[in-house]
């Protein structure tokens, strides 16, 4: 390492006041932690909402004690109305997709570790970075504020389909101001993520230290870079879509509302809008969003597995190209969400083909992980278990994607719990496992303390078994024709399926409770955990070259110089079976990628 003398624009002085240190901080590490805290709060709120929904689905007329305090009109006497069920479902989906699955793996870990992994002092535009978090936080507050409206939050689902997103309160509770708040929240969220993407892209391209060529970037850094490119494109389209919807709502325009539309016996004062237009704009963002949630997880899981396998990936380069291919193809497949929308059947065919093609890079990634794991003596710890769990969930959830990619099958399954099981496993649980893997792996570096391994492993096994108990039966329910988005199942043919719903609800309550173990471990270890060494996992990338936790300027007034590929495991060096990226030591290796 070498002393810093001068450096580019990411320079800013160390903060002195409490506010600048911990609240309006310019430090990417503090901002990363803020994003993590936001995601943590959001995840528990989202999970709590799912508990309420599951209890209602299993015991339809049961009063949930205290629920009336949340909404007098939505849950009179603690019994949920169908409309309130839909409102909770909407908020669950929105909170989880935007404020957890996008925020934690990408914004939280990316903010904290991307600059360190490239050897920079900070992001190039720290003020934009700070603004990115606070805009996202404001977006969260705006969304949550809709809980306090008289008629509650919007009930239109996280996809907010037109025309019900644009006609006002005539469409139901929460469809007035609730929708406007939802749209404003998501538009703000887009601004936050665009600012974040700007920083991520410039950090990766411009702030790498000497010797750190693009192909020497760790896989996690690659994943964040690819995700930021996706985010830049996707959020720049969702934001105008939200603006159009808000204008339809408040200014009387007719972008999405068709003419002569009658809702609740009232003819709507709109003319000629295209309801499909919203779906096109939304899903142009919506499908890449799935990969925005999962690709950082792929990077984190690869990073964690490599440190525990003590050997290199079968082909790091192919893994990077596959993640890039996923990002590119994600824009060509969005129409598979619209097979039942009434669009031209030929369009369905055009979207079906790339959807099947996208399984190729996904499969390549899984095969690379699997064959790299083959023959390795994997160190079993909480982080590596969750990384394995990620692969398991990604495969289990991904396999059903093959079926749903075909319009003829999707038409049958689209409105059923089969789809709910599919996306929860492949996008929700898998991404969550990626977040957990990252947490157990990087917690020592972020806090200077180790997490409790016993609690971590208990958390893994309960979550792993629990997630399968919840989401595999969803597939069976779907194949039996159990429709989704219904607040209760009163049809005769659904009655035999109620016990399955009750089983799922019990599993959801137990799995949710297991997350309290994680929360306890996180908070307890933060203050009472065993002190962590600078490199407790004997890992190689730059974040492990610096102190634990890293100083304000990341490398204590030094700049590392990179001499090696990122994952030099299975070599003989003076420190063991690995060599750090920043170590000038020459080592013999059988497996350096050419």
């Amino acid at each position: 390492m070498h002393d810093m003398s001068v450096h580019a624009g990411q320079h800013h002085a160390p903060p002195t006041s409490f506010i600048r240190k911990h609240v309006f901080s310019l430090d990417h590490k503090v901002i990363g932690k803020q994003y993590y805290a936001l995601a943590l709060v959001a995840a528990f709120i989202g999970m709590f909402l799912s508990w309420l929904m599951r209890i209602h689905l299993a015991w339809n007329n049961a009063a949930i004690p205290g629920l009336q305090l949340l909404s007098k009109t939505g849950a009179p006497g603690g019994v949920m109305t169908p409309e309130y069920y839909l409102q909770l479902m909407t908020m669950h989906g929105t909170i989880m997709v935007f404020f957890v699955l996008t925020t934690a793996p990408f914004a939280a870990f990316g903010n904290y570790f991307l600059p360190i992994q490239v050897g920079a002092e900070d992001m190039p535009f720290p003020r934009f970075n700070m603004m990115s978090f606070w805009v996202t936080f404001t977006a969260f507050l705006v969304l949550m504020s809709s809980f306090f409206l008289g008629d509650g939050p919007t009930l239109g689902g996280w996809t907010q389909y037109a025309p019900l997103n644009a006609v006002g309160s005539v469409a139901g509770p929460g469809q007035g101001l609730g929708v406007v708040l939802w749209m404003a929240s998501i538009a703000l969220f887009c601004v936050g993520q665009l600012l974040g993407s700007l920083n991520f892209i410039t950090t990766t391209l411009d702030l790498r230290v000497k010797g750190l060529s693009l192909m020497r970037l760790p896989l996690s850094a690659w994943a964040w870079f690819i995700t930021s490119c996706m985010g830049l494109t996707a959020f720049a389209v969702l934001m105008p879509a939200c603006i159009l919807a808000i204008l339809d709502h408040v200014a009387g325009t007719s972008f999405f509302v068709a003419s002569n539309l009658v809702i609740n016996d009232q003819i709507q004062p709109h003319s000629g809008g295209s309801t499909l237009l919203w779906q096109h704009l939304f899903w142009f963002f919506g499908h890449p969003e799935v990969y925005i949630a999962i690709v950082p997880g792929m990077g984190i899981v690869s990073h964690v597995l490599l440190a525990n396998m003590r050997k290199q990936m079968l082909s790091q380069r192919t893994l990077i190209y596959s993640m890039g291919a996923l990002a590119l193809l994600s824009y060509m497949v969005y129409g598979h969400h619209m097979f039942v929308s009434g669009m031209n059947p030929y369009s369905s065919l055009a979207f079906s083909f790339p959807t099947l093609v996208i399984t190729i890079p996904s499969t390549i990634v899984v095969l690379i992980w699997t064959f790299s794991l083959y023959g390795s003596r994997l160190r079993i710890n909480s982080a590596s278990l969750f990384a394995l769990g990620f692969i398991s969930m990604f495969v289990s959830g991904g396999v059903s994607g093959f079926f749903l990619a075909q319009p003829s099958i999707d038409i049958m399954l689209h409105a059923t719990y089969f789809v709910v099981g599919h996306f929860h496993l492949v996008m929700g649980v898998a991404a969550m496992f990626g977040i957990f893997a990252g947490t157990y792996f990087w917690f020592p570096k972020m806090t200077g303390r180790m997490m409790n391994e016993t609690l971590g492993k208990a958390h893994f096994w309960l979550s792993f078994v629990g997630a399968y108990c919840i989401f595999m039966p969803f597939h069976y329910l779907g194949m039996a024709g159990n429709v989704r988005r219904y607040a209760s199942f009163v049809d005769d043919y659904l009655q035999p399926l109620i016990p399955v719903h009750r089983f799922i609800t019990v599993a959801a309550l137990c799995t949710g409770a297991a997350q309290l173990i994680f929360l306890y471990n996180l908070i307890h270890s933060r203050f009472r955990g065993e002190a962590a060494a600078d490199n407790p996992w004997e890992a190689t990338s730059l974040e492990w070259s610096t102190a634990t936790p890293p100083p304000f300027d990341n490398f204590g007034g030094k700049h590392p110089v990179v001499y090696h590929d990122p994952y030099q495991y299975g070599v003989q060096s003076s420190v063991g079976d690995y060599v750090m990226q920043a170590s000038p030591e020459q080592v013999k290796s059988d497996n350096e990628e050419k």
Binding site: H2, M4, S5, V6, A8, G119, P124, F125, L194, S197, L198, I201, T202, T203, L205, D206, L207, R208, V209, K210, G211, L212, S213, R216, L232, T233, A236, V237, M239, P240, A241, L244, L247, A251, T253, S254, F255, A258, S259, S271, G272, G273, S274, L276, L277, L281, F284, H559, V561, V562, Y563, D565, P584, Q586, V587, K588, S589, D590, E592, K594
Partner: protein, 224 residues
């Protein structure tokens, strides 16, 4: 068997300050002695990359609006065409001239930087002219909106007027951001702390606003 340490590359004297490179760590640019000043010179200023990222995001946004316009026009028969206010053509001319004056300013500032304030003429003069033209453009757009309002064409009157206001107002807001950029550059220049890449970034943004406006005018003429 391969060693993992690459051969120390030679410093290419042609790759010194002022030239653009693809990234700090790119290529074989690793200098084992870690002379940071060389590293800094090798590093492209992040604002050079950032401005392209910003322009890409803006392009995506207007692409979304454009596709919405095309789909919306084709989805129903309620689309009514109207004649664009003629002041828009004057505004276009103003914006094009502003790009020319900005380029004049860039040249002056470049030579000013070289001769280090030996000339009496303020290099910011053409920047002020550009700033004035930018304000004139926004004012001209306001005149166009007022004319349409006087004709009874409001945001919600017809989808065609909706898109007119949507596109022109969004563009004008972006132009205002560009004016903010120009003011930032002028302030930096007055304090003699302006960096070349900051000026270049502001200029690229401004020129892009001009190109975007030409595109929007064409779109509005063809579709409204």
């Amino acid at each position: 068997m391969a060693t993992t340490v690459h051969e120390p590359p030679q410093i290419d004297s042609r790759r010194l300050a002022g030239e653009r490179h693809s990234g700090n760590g790119a290529g074989g640019g690793i200098v084992p002695d870690g002379d940071l000043r060389v590293a800094v010179e090798y590093s492209p200023p992040p604002s050079s990359t950032a401005i392209w990222v910003v322009l890409f995001a803006i392009t995506m946004m207007f692409a979304a609006f454009t596709s919405a316009l095309v789909v919306r026009k084709g989805s129903s028969l309620d689309w009514q065409t109207f004649t664009l206010p003629s002041v828009l053509y004057f505004n276009t001319l103003v914006l094009v001239i502003s790009s020319v004056t900005l380029e004049l300013a860039r040249r002056r500032i470049a030579s000013f930087m070289v001769v280090l304030r030996s000339q009496g003429e303020s290099p910011a003069r053409w920047l002020y002219v550009t700033l004035f033209l930018g304000v004139l453009f926004v004012a001209g757009q306001y005149v166009a909106w007022s004319q349409l309002r006087a004709e009874g064409l409001y945001l919600a009157t017809n989808p065609s007027s909706s898109f007119f206001y949507l596109l022109t107002v969004t563009h004008a807001l972006h132009v205002l951001c560009g004016l903010g950029g120009l003011i930032y550059v002028i302030r930096k220049l007055s304090k003699s702390v302006l960096r070349r890449n900051q000026l270049d970034a502001a200029a690229r943004y401004w020129h892009f606003m001009g190109i975007l406006w030409l595109y929007l005018l064409l779109l509005l003429r063809m579709k409204l």
